[in-house]
Every structure is written in structure tokens, then in C-alpha cells.
């Protein structure tokens, strides 16, 4: 039997002085292989053309469509309605600034994050267009790729208790990013350099280890492992730093 779905959607347009935050209800007949991408577009095209939400690749690749789906952060395009009850509540991701309805500003948050962790290779070597590429072990390349699969959807940040309480907390996604550069042989930063970036409550010491982040990551990144890895590394870096004979 085809179901009738009821969508409770958060509505607020901060640019409209008449708008107040509230929930709107939309009703749709479910169709086979319906996703939230299909449903929300149908609502916009047929019922309310002002409804704001973000989708881009619609294929679970770009991370644009993070939202709270029945209370849990997830990607709208990847979520099939058949896996949900017939009443579906959609809210924008917390932590990020609201643009309107389900749309939030992840771009600004992530740009600030990568400014903080200086998310690029730090090296003195100058690129030589005539030379052969520097060699790398394929297994290391694959390890780096594992951590680089993050799509910056913001789900882990939205699912993190610390991030909700502390605006300046970098979140698992930033720590994962640091781990990515830490294992990259091309990056010449020392452990002490990384310690300066994340050896604070904004970084590794703010994390309470409750792992809301890993549970909701749609790319199934090993965030837990990275948090543990960095804790150990940073613990050592801290010790070395306070010992006069410790090297950088």
C-alpha cells in the first residue's frame, strides 16, 4: 500500500520581517524510491515555491544537503522515505548560521576551520615542472585518501554536544583534517606545530569522546580512531614540549 507522508518542516526567513519561526506541514503520496531530495523538490514545485533547502549533486557526494531528519543529522539526498515513518520532521542543522528554512551557511564555518588548521601542505620544497614527481608509497596515498573523503556536510558538528555548547570548538571534522596532514609525508609541520593548533579546549581537549560525530557521519569516516590517534600524539607532543631536552 502506498503511504501518505506528512512532512513537518521548519520555516523561518530571516530576511522577511513578517516571518516568525514555525513548523509547516506538507502532505505527499509516497512513490517508489522516493528520497528527501525528490520529496522536497516536489513540495517546492507544487506546494510552496519559497521553501529553502540545499541540494547540489543529489548523489551523496557533495555534502550540501545536511539536515536534521527526525532529530538526527543526515544527508537528505541519500535518505529514502521508505526507511522513515510516515511522519517526517525536518529541521536545519544546528551550530551553523541559518540562511532560511532548512538551509544553513556551512561555507563560512568550514572556511574558518581551515584557516585555523591551515589546511594545506606546508613545505619548503619548490615545485619543479621539469622534474619527476616525488615518490610516495601507495599505501600512504590510500591512507590519506581515507581521511580526505569527508564532504564537509557538517553532520558531525551538528551531532556534537561540545560544538553545540562552545562556538569555538573545532569539531571532529577539523581534527580529522589535522590527522590527514599529520600522516602526509609532504607536510613538514612538526608535532609541536600541530599541538599549537589543536592542543587546547577548542581542539583535542574539548572533545568529550561521546562519539556522536562518528555515528552520524554519512561517509563513515573513522573519526573515533583519529581522535584517539591525535590524543596520543598530542599527549606525547605535550610531554616533549615541557621537557627541556625534548626535541621538536
Amino acid at each position: 500500500m502506498a503511504r501518505t507522508l506528512k512532512f513537518n518542516v521548519f520555516r523561518y526567513n530571516p530576511m522577511d520581517e513578517k516571518s516568525v519561526p514555525h513548523m509547516d506541514t506538507f502532505v505527499l503520496p509516497e512513490i517508489p524510491s522516493m528520497t528527501l531530495f525528490i520529496a522536497l523538490n516536489q513540495i517546492r514545485e507544487e506546494q510552496d515555491p519559497s521553501l529553502q533547502f540545499d541540494f547540489c549533486c543529489r548523489a551523496g557526494i557533495c555534502g550540501a544537503c545536511g539536515m536534521l531528519i527526525n532529530g538526527r543529522p543526515g544527508l537528505g539526498c541519500k535518505t529514502k522515505t521508505k526507511d522513515l515513518p510516515d511522519e517526517i520532521t525536518l529541521l536545519p542543522l544546528p551550530v551553523f548560521k541559518l540562511v532560511g528554512d532548512l538551509s544553513v551557511d556551512t561555507g563560512t564555518w568550514f572556511r574558518e576551520m581551515y584557516a585555523k588548521v591551515e589546511s594545506w601542505i606546508h613545505t619548503d620544497t619548490v615545485f619543479d615542472p621539469t622534474a619527476e614527481e616525488e615518490r610516495m608509497d601507495n599505501s600512504i596515498a590510500e591512507e590519506i585518501y581515507e581521511l580526505e573523503r569527508c564532504v564537509e556536510c557538517g553532520c558531525c558538528v551538528a551531532g556534537c554536544g561540545t560544538a553545540r555548547m562552545r562556538k569555538d570548538f573545532m569539531g571532529a571534522v577539523a581534527l580529522n583534517r589535522v590527522a590527514r596532514f599529520l600522516i602526509d609525508p609532504r607536510d613538514q609541520r612538526s608535532e609541536a606545530d600541530y599541538y599549537d593548533i589543536i592542543g587546547t579546549d577548542e581542539g583535542i581537549f574539548g572533545c568529550m569522546g561521546l562519539l556522536g560525530c562518528e555515528d552520524v557521519c554519512p561517509k563513515e569516516l573513522p573519526l573515533q580512531d583519529q581522535l584517539g590517534f591525535l590524543r596520543r600524539k598530542m599527549g606525547l607532543a605535550a610531554i616533549k614540549r615541557f621537557l627541556p631536552f625534548g626535541k621538536k
Partner: protein
Amino acid sequence: MQTFYTDVLSIGAGLAGERVAIEAAGAGFDAICLSIVPARRSHSSAAQGGMQAALGNSAMGEGDTPDVHFNDTVKGSDWGCDQEVARIFCDNAPIAMRQMAHWGVPWNRVVGGKGFYYKGGERFEKFEKPENEGLITARNFGGTAKWRTCYTSDGTGHTVLYTMDNRAAKMGVQVHDKVEVISLIQDGKRCMGAVARCLKTGELRVYLAKATLVAAGGFGRIYRESTNAVICDGGAHAAVLDTGVVPLGNMEAVQFHPTGIVPTYILVTEGCRGDGGTLLDVNQERFMNIYEPEKAELASRDVVSRWMMHHIREGKGVKSPYGEHLWLDIRHLGEQHIRGKLREVDDICQNFLGIDPVKDLIPVKPVQHYSMGGVRTNKDGAAYGLEGLFAAGEAACWDMHGFNRLGGNSLAETVVAGMVVGGKVVEYLQGAEAQFKTSVIEDQVAKDRNRIQRLIDCADGGEDAFKVRAAMQDALQDGVHIFRSHNDLEQAVFQLQEVHERAKKIGLKSNGKGANPELALALKMAGQVKLALCVAYGALKRTESRGSHAREDFPERNDRDWLNRTLATWKNEDDDLPTLNYEDATPSFEIPPGDRGYGGGTIIPMDNPPAGKED
């Protein structure tokens, strides 16, 4: 209203836009990239397969050189490309790839020793030279003589774009995301920047720049079934067409990719076939090896797509509620390979089809995928018609792809063109003075404000923007697809002219306040229909078959009359058709027109074939 000044304004923060911006920033100029979405969500990130560069490090790529790459590219283009540009591209691709490695891309690397690979469902052995261990490796892609496609598992676009964006951040390139360009500021001679709408607040902004770059990607979303992201809608192309003086090149050259999954048309990468996947019909029998004994599944995309449609027409398609399709079989590649090197494919199958590609067949059919056409530029990336306007990447018709681009040649184009055109933009900036005419800026802003107000007031009518879009998509989908013919094309042009009239009468149903999505669509709708008309009308006039442009009523490739590029301009706002002109496909020949070696078909030769070195 906010006004921003910069040296380079890039409309687009994908690979091409950011690469140009990085070049400018490296030379000490200010650069701003605009993007509808955060830079890293640009469609470049969706590319899974890889990018071509003749490094020749892997066993199956041994002996590869830019010359071989050049040969493949020109054949791939069906001799429709600019050979000077293809040469620049092939020579620079290896440098660009190594530079990306230096900047941080975790390319897959050569692992020395014995290994296995699949071709046409069969397993073969290969031996990687131990002395090449650790160099950038390559995988197989369609239409190439050697394994040349550099990759990072199946997240190539993702890792390359993330690395590029990291580099852009390091170099101080600014990215203004959730900002959409709605028109160019120009006086018919010189481009001075763009008017944009902030998609956070809905406010208009003015960007003034010495050099403006269009790097807005493809416009596939004018079709109903497309692999493209929903933002690949041609809004920036429409702004270019609206200048009335800048032509778009070869808009009828639209690529259909053989393996869009049915029914959502999400792409599964050509890497599936490159890594040994096969296409099967309703009887679960292979058929590409019958039509193309030599290349089989790995002929160029236009050829494979055509044979697939042909096979479906022969009654060998699989019936489904979403129309007929064929199967892609990767089961024999094994669980380890599929869950590792083809993980995104695995994810897509599990999430969007509810099937397991390790055990199940994947339903696929050819769908719109790539826009060979775009803003026509010269070999330096400078647009025709306006000084200070440049274009690069998929948005441009730089024209190394001609009438069909090879898999892996587009991502590579974005970084190579970014590097080359970036250099030319820097040269331009070094000689350029800022010349902003206040009256021109004010006029353009007033015009855009007026457009917005009329849409909100329903001053021209109450047509529904979404319905107009659907009508446009249907017209193209039905009339300008893989196989084309006079009657269908004429019908499509006629329908689109009607849709164009409707697009002029759009009125908003909502209040248009803030980042209103209905307004965003309404603002570009008429422009999108004009693009669709460039595609349909260009296809109607081109009475030959070349690359992706296959006319059933003119099956020959006609080098005598059509070895040229279509230039479409929208001269007057009131016109209901583009003005078409033609220019030679290439200023000089390194390889004179000949047989591609796959795809069959007859050729009407040139009257005076050029002298050149034969391969």
C-alpha cells in the same frame, strides 16, 4: 548595495576557476571566486574516474607520450577540436598532474611487481616495474591507446578540488559562496565585472574587476535526464549570451554518458568499464564486442552511447517502469576491488538503487553528461567579443574536445587550462588599467532590479517558473538527444520558441524575499531557454554526423562542408533564434582528418586535404 573591487573575478570556484585565481594570486593580484555553493561542493568534486596525463609510469601506460595523448584527443573529438589547443593541453597535462601532487593530491601510486586486471570480463596479468614504484599510476579509460588516467580511488575530483581549494586558501584567494551571477557588466566592448545575487540574503551585489573569468561549469540541467548537479544550469552562460556580442561555440555538441543509473541518472564512473566492467542486454549477453570488436566497451562515449541506443531499438533493452535500459556488470571484479577502488559506485548502488554491485547487475542508460560547447575563447582563454572576459573549464569552448570529449580529459582540462589561461590573465592584468564606467554599472543594476520587481509584481504574467523549466527540459529530451533528425529538431526548435515566449511571462507565486529559490530560477529561466535554442538550432543546421552529434538523416561526417565550429550569438533581446556563424575547426592541422578507428561511419573528405604528418 555592496560593491567589491578585484583584479580577477572568477564566476565559479570549481577546479578551473580556482586554478586561474591561484595563478593570479601567485603573481600578486587580488582574486575573488564566486560560487552558488561552497567551493568544495562544485561539480568538479563529483568526478570519480580520473584525469588524463601522459606520464607513462604504469605498465599498461608504458611508451605513452603527449603525442599519443594528442592523437587520442583529436580522434576523440572527431577532428572537431582546435589542434593547437589540444597540443597545448597534452604537453602541459603531465606538469599539471605533478603540480597537483606537490600541492597535496594523494594520487594512487605504482606498486611494483605482478598484478591483475580485467578486460571484457577476462582476467589478465601485468607486471609493474619495481623502478617505477611510488610514481603516479594510471587506469584505463575509453578512447585511449594507453592507460593514462591518473586517479585517487574513485574520488579523484573530490581530492583534486579539496587540494585546489586548500591551495587557494593558502594563496589568499577569496571565495564568496552562495553568490550567483545574474548578468555581466559591459559596454559592448569591454567586460567590467558582474552583478550577482547573494543567496544568503537575496541582496544584489556589484563585482568590478579588471578581468572577468567564466568558469561556471556545464549546463546539463537544461536536459531532463542528466548526471550533472542541480546547480549546473547554465545561468552564467545565459548572462554571457545576454551581452549580445559574445558567441557560444558548438552548443549542439552535447555528450551523453553510457552509464547513468536508472531512474535517478546519477553517474557511475567510466572507471567501471575501464577496470573491466561489461555491458549486458536483456538476455544478459555482451553486445559491445559485436559492434566494436577492437575497443568494445572502451570505445569513446559517443560511440558506446549510440550502440546502446541502437541495441535497445533492436529490442534488446530491459523493460522497466522508467523506460528501457541495459545492464552494467562489474561483479567479476570482485568484492575487494568494488568496495575499495570503486567504493563510490558501491555506495551509489546501495543507496540509490538498493542493490549490491558485488552480486547484482546495475541498470544503466545513456544520459546527458557533458557540455562540449560553451563560451568561445581563443587559445589564450580570452572570450570572443569582449575585452577583459575570459573563460575556462567546462564552461568554455577552448576547444580541445571538439564534438566529443574523452573521459578523463575534462578534469585534466580544468587544471591545465587553469594554469595556461591563468598565465594569460596575469599577462593581461599586467597591462590593464581599471576602467569602470559608472553609467554602465548603474544601468545594469537598474535593469536587474527592474527584472526582479517585475517578476515579484507579476507585471508580465503569471507563468509558473517550474512548469516553464519542465517544458524546456522535455523539448530537449525528446527532440535533441543521441540520435537526431530534421523533423525532431525542427519540432524541438518550434517548441522551445513557444517556451521562450512563456519564459518572458513568468511571475512569482511567492514574495521573492531573502534567498528565495523561486526568484533564482525565474531570473535565469529565459536565458536557459535561449541556451536550449542554441543547442537545438545549431543541431538542426549541422547536416552531418560528428562525434556526439549524430544525424540519422546525414550519417556521414562531412569534412568537405562541416569541418567547422558553430558560433551562436543572441544579437537582440527580441530575437527568437540565435544568430549562427561558423569558423574553421582548427587554424592548423597536425593530424589531417582521418578515420577514428572505432565507431564506423563514412566520411565525406575535404576538397583540399591539408598536408600533415600521418600517424
